[in-house]
């Protein structure tokens, strides 16, 4: 599989604090990659570097062979990178359908085409019946699904999910995992997700990147990563005896 | 001595009063985060209060200052506690609109009660002046500036040294943290608003020594307060004084070299420049 996204020696400094320290990894086309690490490990910063919120201080971020470091979020969206937000940000005064249409307009200039595309993604994410409901009236799991639907409507090649499972009950997590897995399978979508909910990461990811103190400490399949001593140590600490 | 020196000195003195007025807004805008579009109108209210106190009780404005300050403190406290409190979590523009409405209500109410003509106070020293060499200082201007500086010093001491003052600063810096530490943030916000209102009342009293009051006076001074606060820097007390003095001096220079009616042009031009280039103002912290 060819690399869709590659980080090469990326670093980011915030006034003296080195949040990301020379991180490199590859996201192959069509893969689902998890990015995990304890709080403060730097995964959100990495995420935001890819999403165009921050500009890298060092290294390169290459998407489809093109250096995208420091490009603004709307430019990245046109290049094919869509993201969701950790705290769902629906356009409250608009209906669920209209929210999705905003995303769909990215690749569809006409209102009718956008509406069709929007309905498709809502169907995909199980929100079709709520199409005309104002977005501010949705429950948390529904908001998360709307976040994903809206991002999906922009017809991305790479979908960045920022803690999309946070606050969901296990049964809701499983539903989301199933939806995302089906999506990736059927459309060849590439996904990068940062997560704390291990249940989801283990179930979804083809492989996982673990960061700690701004550095990559492990890469591998879920089983490999779960058994890795360094990973266990960074989450649970070293056993002393 | 060149002719403009007198104008500059007059501007400096007037600037001190402007500084106090702006300080009130700095407290309100900087601490409580209320965009007080009724700032000038509140001042106008206080000025009419001073006029009434003179008409009914023969009070000299300098005696009335604490009285109107106290009255406006109460009004400001009530306004924040009773009304503005609810707007903290609401969209920003709803709060502006509320204060715009309050400003219109205040202006029209004063118009109804006092009519459209200007009103002024009489003081025994209105036409006196001090002479320092070839420098001529109007007594009223000296008194006004002295009063303003005194108030600003008191305020500075209050915020630095008193418990309430420190609590207010805490609430301004970090409302969530302050609440967690057990401070009644709403009460301190109301106190802060009251203090801001008291400042502007005192400033109005001193300003009345220099200009007449009429119901439409509010809008110009609301804007001027914002200009000064933004130029000087939000949340900075020395900034408010500096900004006030800068504006006062620029008005004086404009009046001397160009035309008195153009004096505000420089202030607005400066505001536009500051907003674009250095929004934290000359002495403010980056928000």
């Amino acid at each position: 599989m060819s690399a869709l996204l590659e980080l090469a020696g990326v670093s980011k400094r915030f006034r003296g604090l080195l949040a990301v320290d020379g991180v490199s990894f590859v996201i192959p086309q069509g893969a689902i990659v998890g990015l995990i690490g304890p709080n403060g490990a730097g995964k959100t910063t990495i995420f935001n570097l890819i999403a165009g919120v921050y500009r890298p201080d060092g290294g390169r971020i290459v998407f489809e062979g093109r250096d995208i470091g420091g490009l603004r979020p709307n430019v990245l969206c046109h290049a094919g990178i869509a993201r969701t937000f950790q705290i769902a940000r629906p356009f409250g005064a608009l209906s669920v359908l209209e929210n999705a249409m905003v995303g769909a307009f990215r690749a569809n200039a006409s209102t009718d085409a956008a509406r069709i595309r929007a309905r498709e993604v809502l169907e995909r994410l199980g929100l079709a019946e709520k199409a005309n409901v104002p977005a501010h009236g949705l429950t948390l799991p529904e908001r998360r699904r709307l976040e994903v639907a809206r991002a999906l409507a922009t017809e991305p090649k790479l979908l960045l999910l920022d803690e999309a499972m946070a606050g969901l009950r296990p049964i809701e997590v499983d539903a989301m995992v199933a939806t995302l897995a089906a999506l990736a399978r059927e459309s060849g979508l590439t996904i990068l997700l940062t997560e704390h909910v291990m249940r989801a990461v283990m179930a979804l990811s083809h492989h996982i990147v673990v960061v700690h103190h701004g550095q990559k400490i492990c890469v591998g399949t879920p089983e490999h990563v779960a058994a890795d001593a360094r990973v266990i140590e960074c989450y649970f600490g070293r056993s002393t005896h | 001595m060149p002719g403009w020196v007198n104008f500059v000195v007059a501007g400096l003195l007037t600037g001190a009063v402007y500084g106090l007025m702006a300080l009130g807004l700095s407290v309100i805008f900087g601490v409580v985060r209320v965009v007080n579009f009724a700032h000038g109108e509140m001042m106008m209210l206080a000025m009419y209060g001073v006029i009434l106190l003179q008409r009914w009780a023969g009070f000299d404005p300098l005696v009335s200052a604490p009285v109107v300050a106290a009255a406006l403190f109460a009004l400001g406290y009530a306004l924040q506690r009773g009304l503005l409190n609810r707007f903290i979590s609401r969209p920003e523009h709803e709060q502006f609109i509320l204060m715009l409405g309050v400003a219109a209500l205040l202006t029209s109410s004063m118009l109804m009660v006092f009519g459209p003509d200007a009103a002024s106070i009489d003081t025994s020293y209105a036409l006196d002046s001090y002479a320092l060499g070839s420098l001529i200082l109007d007594k009223v201007r000296v008194f006004a500036a002295s009063g303003a500086i005194l108030c600003m010093a008191l305020l500075w001491a209050f915020f630095r040294l008193s418990r309430t003052g420190k609590a207010i600063r805490a609430c301004a810096d970090n409302p969530v943290g302050a609440a967690v530490a057990g401070l009644d943030v709403n009460r301190f916000y109301a106190t802060a608003f009251g203090i801001g209102a008291a400042c502007v009342a005192a400033a109005g009293t001193f300003l009345l020594l220099l200009v007449d009051v009429q119901p439409y006076l509010g809008a110009d001074y609301t804007l001027l307060s914002f200009v000064i606060v933004i130029i000087g820097g939000l949340g900075s007390m020395p900034g408010a004084l500096l900004g006030g003095v800068l504006v006062g001096v620029s008005e004086g220079l404009a009046a001397y070299f160009v035309a008195p009616s153009l004096k505000s042009l420089f202030s607005y031009g400066l505001l536009i420049l500051v907003l674009l280039v250095r929004p934290q103002g000359l002495m403010g912290r980056r928000a």
């Binding site: 999403a51 709307n74 969206c77 608009l94 | 009304l83 309050v102 205040l106 029209s108 035309a259």
Partner: protein, 324 residues
């Protein structure tokens, strides 16, 4: 649009078209005030109601439109319509400049609102010293035959201006609706609701906001230009007054920002009540009642029904479908 809505709109439209035949000169002038307020409110609504950019200095564009058309006519005999179009161009340029500067330097929210007021006041003071347009003494247009209806030269009876302004308001309504149904309308609403989220969906927020401000300014200038030929006298301190800016925004806020009919409903309510207040005040010698009403209405609406009167009415009368 459903049947009930269509019926209500047709009825209102028919009444407005027929009105000049039945009402006397005084009421006609009141209706003209209403239409101007409705039109200007709709122009402002595009910028604030749709794109969420708060301007409290819209009198700037109104004044630029009015003065450009009037001054060119007064000094060079320029055809009024040409002058009006030039006024729109001037306003568009100024609006675009203000927007470009502000958004480039990330001046948003309250600071942007203050900037709009600053530009407004700055221009007012400039015009007060601008002798070519009359300065504080005012600019006066030669009022020729007002009995002859000359649409080409914008000379005519109040009735002519009434229909002209009615057409303008209807046009603004049509335009607003068209914009809201297209991508640009959706993008503006997204920016209003949550700008960073909008950017993440591929929206170029800088250009979208710029477009809203420029369009709003140009359309406001169109109104200013036309009304200049109705009033025939212009003074900087009334045309560019901040109080006029506040008046422009009061109607759409009361009626309902971001909705299609809100500005019109708000304009209607405020104009009728405002005129009643002014008359009442004049009879009893109480000044400032109209302003008192406007201020009170703003406070009441923002406290009790921030969405505005129109959404409330729409729901009660069952005229609503969709969220706008």
């Amino acid at each position: 649009m459903n049947r009930r809505q269509g019926l209500a709109l047709a009825l209102a439209g028919a009444l407005l078209v027929a009105a000049p035949v039945f009402v006397g000169p005084y009421l006609l002038s009141v209706l003209i005030v209403f239409l101007v307020a409705a039109y200007l409110g709709q122009c402002w609504n595009i910028m604030m109601g749709f794109a969420g950019q708060l301007s409290i200095g819209h009198a700037l564009y109104y004044g630029l439109g009015a003065y450009t058309a009037a001054a060119l006519f007064a000094h060079f005999g320029t055809l009024p319509w040409l002058g009006v179009i030039l006024g729109m161009a001037v306003a568009a340029l100024v609006a675009a400049s203000i927007a470009a500067l502000s958004f480039r330097f990330a001046v948003t929210g309250v600071y942007f609102a203050l900037l709009t007021i600053a530009f407004n006041e700055f221009t007012r003071i400039l015009f007060e010293h601008f002798e070519w347009v009359g300065g504080t003494a005012g600019l006066f247009l030669h009022v020729a035959q007002i009995n002859a209806t000359d649409l080409v030269h914008l000379r005519g009876s109040p009735g002519m201006f009434y229909y002209l302004l009615l057409a303008l308001s209807a046009g603004a309504l049509w335009l607003s609706r068209a914009l809201l149904r297209r991508r640009i309308g959706f993008y503006w609403l997204a920016i209003r609701e949550d700008e960073p989220a909008a950017a993440a969906l591929g929206i170029d927020t800088f250009w979208m906001k710029l477009a809203a401000v420029t369009l709003s300014g140009a359309l406001t200038a169109l109104g200013g230009g036309i009304v200049a030929f109705y009033d025939n006298n212009l003074y900087p301190d009334t045309i560019f007054a901040t109080s006029r800016s506040v008046e422009i925004i009061t109607a759409p806020i009361i009626g309902g920002m971001g909705t299609l009919f809100g500005p019109i409903v708000g304009a209607f309510l405020l104009t009728t009540m405002g005129e009643a207040m002014t008359d009442f005040g004049a009879e009893f010698g109480v000044p400032g009642l109209k302003q008192w009403l406007y201020g009170g209405a703003l406070v009441a609406i923002v406290l009790l029904q921030p969405a505005g009167v129109w959404p409330w009415v729409r729901d009660r009368l069952g005229l609503g479908e969709g969220l706008r």
